[in-house]
Symmetry: C2
Subunit: 575 residues, 2 copies
């Protein structure tokens, strides 16, 4: 391709909308353009990368025996009602009515659709195991689209689904997919951590996320250097530092605490540590108010709490609601004498003796509050947010926290879809049994973003060879010098002839501009034909990663051909 | 791939939902499965064909210098309002509100989206010409989804857009795309006719459709053997047989016509030919009633009429509306004395002398009606439906009619998008000028359907080699005979090793079932290892098109390798 006619709209300035380094580089390299919040077009250089990355993923799926299909995005409500997920997805799913007033959704994931296919067309255990996958555009009406294509409302994903006769079969299918994901990430040179994860709206008996550690990701990983435990902070468990305050239960008492409503202020007022307090938070769980109780030095993990409540949305209540429920200004809520709403209580709270809480009166707290005697909860659960410094539940080592980007998520579903959808097969003994399923997602656009986020320098993107938009660029420093131009054109023609993916930067701009643009978009090999060629007959062969050599033009051509050949051999044709 | 583990759910029976032979074969060959009206999943054999066909289209796009990008399906209303197409598309577009109550549509086409990109990133004539294309899922909320994937609500399309500095540039871009389409259809062995077409909701100064003649397509092509004129019936013009009835204008008169309301009945009653009647049809044009007048022996072309009215939907009014407007039962409408609604009149009508019409009274007709004296129309236009036997306006030869499937449509848009969207570039003289655009669509899923519709026999599909799901199948007639099984497995291993796309039918079913299934899905080459091999050492090498030979196994393997190599060479890598 010739730069002069290629649509590669690079830019020098940092776009105002860029939220991370990777987001900035994708915009500046002309890879994407935003159409609406969380909705992007992939411009030619960006889409070349997407297609190559899809091919890497496709090859690894085929290697583990998965077969590619393509399911629709537009799906009737009925199949989602079979599993109850029409309601469960709530406003995260794009929903509409067609011209005949039938309800449809745009699928954020395809468990229902694929199960609908398999229940109709797979009848016998002889047809199992079966793994199906697709690479398809997904829609998710995110509340907070962020970081460019990382949290988008329309995005490309590879989703795979396995169908087995039993749990042992699922274990094998799951492991094969797990291994495929590891290979994909290795081919993309992405360092990753597999972590225990919350299964969220997908459900099932367990799930693992593949996280790419970055400084800026929106996910947080809790991990233990001691034993290797790693989990998404949404799911992570930890042993918290116990705090014993023994002694007899004393009578409750209401104490005026003017000007003290935060834990710090009240802690100072009573001169006791935060561990002695019970914090009472009022939430709206899908529009129903609930109270959440947690020890003063802990924080609520809202994912754990929402899972326990079984709600879609969990948001802190506004001041007016809090005042209506507690009959007091914000800051004085407590579990005793609160208007009857469901109470969820962290499992550290019942162990507390003679605790302090808000009194549900303005400017007052209650002391000597005890679980069981003074209040009870509707549900006691682990709803603590794990934090750096907590102790590992396995080895008691200190836990650390790291930001990251979730790029893949694999689930053991078991029969949570096949049972409600009556998706069964005839087993060897003649009985009808539900398929034992797994599902496996990896974000195509998110992987691209993760690669850029983790692999760049001050000049731009550094691509792994397999997914670079072009393998090499030939730069004649001055297209007006016939000798320079001609040798550049000759090399370009030779490399095209050999089937190499090569650019020639034939623009009438300065050599500096050319170097900047090609480093920005991350072309792995730059071959420069400049003044040096006129004197020595050598071209400059430079790798994006830094290595540099002055070599004869034929050597440069054959080096690129060798690289190209190596990449072709690496990617097997799929049969 | 092994048949025993491949997901190729063939079926023997003709599915009740099949509307055409092609639709039937796609279902029976396990290529597609319906999820909802007009919404299909592509199962593994079907999706292999889709991907290969995409690659053919992609290669021909790249050959003419188009660059691939990928634009979103989910688009904010605002860009559609810039061109007025939010309203123009009406209920054909899927529309919804996101969680923040912003209006979005799912794009049935991408003129607005691509123009939005180009106006932001292409600033100078130096960056032109530019052609961009994508292969992407489109959504169209069809009123009547039909014929399987041919008229679907979610479908795959290649859409391309060209940007030029002037009309001459557009002519060149248009011709290049036209030629690319011809090559695509040739590679798919599809006989096609390029016809003048109605531009519909896309607009612009002219368009050409690529039609595949079939017995069952939903489109009708009018063509002239004499001069080569060809047009979609929606657009076709013809010279109609004039009918002269001279004489003086006589006075109108109302004549009772009991029991005669159809043209035939009234024609018999008055004993005059249908050519003397003016038919008056009452339509709803987007909920506004209008009257359409046409000579008694002609039919209304509703596309021409809708274009003249400028409406989205044109439907015949119900009886009650007709009675309210004409003050008479259905069958007695006429242009004289009708309640004031817009009147559209075919241009044959003003030439009629002393015509007969309904009297807008029950059981009565009016005679001696003359345009100009007794009534006038709001608009006079050609709204006749061209029919077989009409005369060609170019050479006066007889026109013929043929059913077909529209697979591609190319448009000269000019500035109909760039002007309202203020998409301009700096011209060489420094002035700001609107881009001169073209757009070019070809249906991927529709092409697959057209190939099957036109290329099959009683046993199943006959694929052109380039898009067959697999190139060859090896059939051991009996997998329990070690010698047969072993040689089949050996050939399979060799062909896999050589990168050929080959199936081995290792199922424990009868040879007859294997032949039936593989002929049904249309595998081009069948290599059978059967009893004959045991006696003669020869395998049967059969082409799906019929040719048959008994040859040594090594010859069979090398023939398949040669075919595979030929196909690989045919499809150039894109640079």
């Amino acid at each position: 391709m010739r730069w002069s006619s290629a649509f590669i709209p690079t830019r020098r300035d940092k776009p105002a909308e860029a939220e991370t380094r990777g987001h900035e580089l994708m915009l500046r390299a002309g890879m994407i353009k935003q159409l609406s919040s969380g909705i992007y077009s992939y411009l030619p250089p960006g889409y070349r990368v997407i297609r190559k990355l899809e091919e890497v993923v496709r090859q690894e799926m085929v290697r583990v025996g998965a077969q590619e299909l393509f399911m629709p995005a537009m799906q009737p409500r009925e199949i989602w009602d079979e599993t109850g997920r029409w309601d469960k997805y709530g406003s995260n799913m794009v929903k509409f009515r067609d011209r005949n007033n039938r309800a449809y959704g745009l699928a954020p994931t395809h468990e229902e659709a694929v199960t609908d296919i398999v229940r109709a067309l797979v009848l016998s255990y002889r047809q199992l195991p079966l793994s199906l996958f697709q690479i398809q555009t997904k829609f998710r009406d995110e509340a907070r689209p962020r970081f460019g294509v990382i949290r988008a409302r329309e995005f490309s994903m590879k989703d795979a689904y396995s169908f087995d006769i039993d749990e042992q079969g699922l274990d094998r299918s799951f492991q094969a997919m797990f291994d495929a994901y590891v290979r994909i990430l290795q081919r993309l040179r992405l360092p990753s951590i597999a972590v225990e994860a919350d299964s969220g709206a997908i459900g099932g008996t367990g799930s693992v996320e593949f996280m790419i550690p970055t400084g800026t990701g929106e996910d947080q990983i809790i991990y233990c250097d001691g034993c290797g435990y790693a989990a998404n902070i949404e799911k992570a468990v930890s042993r918290y530092e116990p705090y014993y305050f023994d002694g007899d239960m004393l009578s409750t008492e209401i104490v005026p605490t003017p000007h003290a409503s935060t834990i710090d202020e009240v802690s100072a007022f009573f001169d006791v540590p935060a561990q002695r307090f019970i914090k009472t938070l009022i939430y709206y769980a899908d529009n129903t108010p609930i109270a959440a109780l947690i020890r003063g030095d802990h924080e609520v993990n809202e994912v754990k709490l929402a899972n326990a409540v079984g709600c879609q949305e969990l948001v802190l209540a506004d001041a007016r609601t809090i005042e209506e429920i507690t009959h007091a200004r914000v800051g004085f809520a407590g579990p005793v004498g609160i208007d009857r709403i469901p109470i969820y209580c962290d499992d550290a709270v019942p162990l507390m003796r003679n605790a302090l809480t808000g009194a549900n009166q303005d400017d007052a707290h209650m002391i000597n509050v005890n679980y069981g005697r003074d209040f009870v909860a509707d549900q006691v659960l682990d709803m603590r947010r794990t934090a750096a410094g907590d102790h590992c539940t396995r080895c008691d080592g200190p836990l650390r926290v790291q930001r990251g980007i979730e790029v893949g998520h694999v689930f053991k579903l078991g029969t949570v879809y096949s049972e409600p959808m009556h998706a069964t097969f005839a087993a060897e003994d003649g009985s009808e049994r539900p398929f034992v399923m797994g599902c496996y997602g990896i974000g195509i656009s998110r992987l691209v973003a993760a690669v850029i986020e983790t692999s760049n320098d001050e000049n731009g993107i550094i691509w792994p060879l397999e997914i670079a938009p072009y393998l090499a660029v030939i730069i004649p420093t001055n297209v007006d010098t016939p000798q320079i131009r001609d040798v550049a054109e000759k090399m370009y023609a030779e490399l095209c002839e050999e089937g190499c993916e090569v650019l020639i930067d034939d623009r009438a701009v300065s050599a500096g501009t050319k170097f900047k643009d090609n480093d920005l978009i991350g072309i792995p090999v730059t071959i420069t034909v400049g003044k040096n060629y006129l004197s020595s007959g050598l071209v400059e062969y430079r790798l994006r990663t830094g290595a540099l050599a002055a070599i004869p033009e034929e050597t440069a051509v054959s080096r690129v051909c060798d690289l190209s050949e190596m990449l072709r051999n690496q990617s097997e044709r799929y049969i």
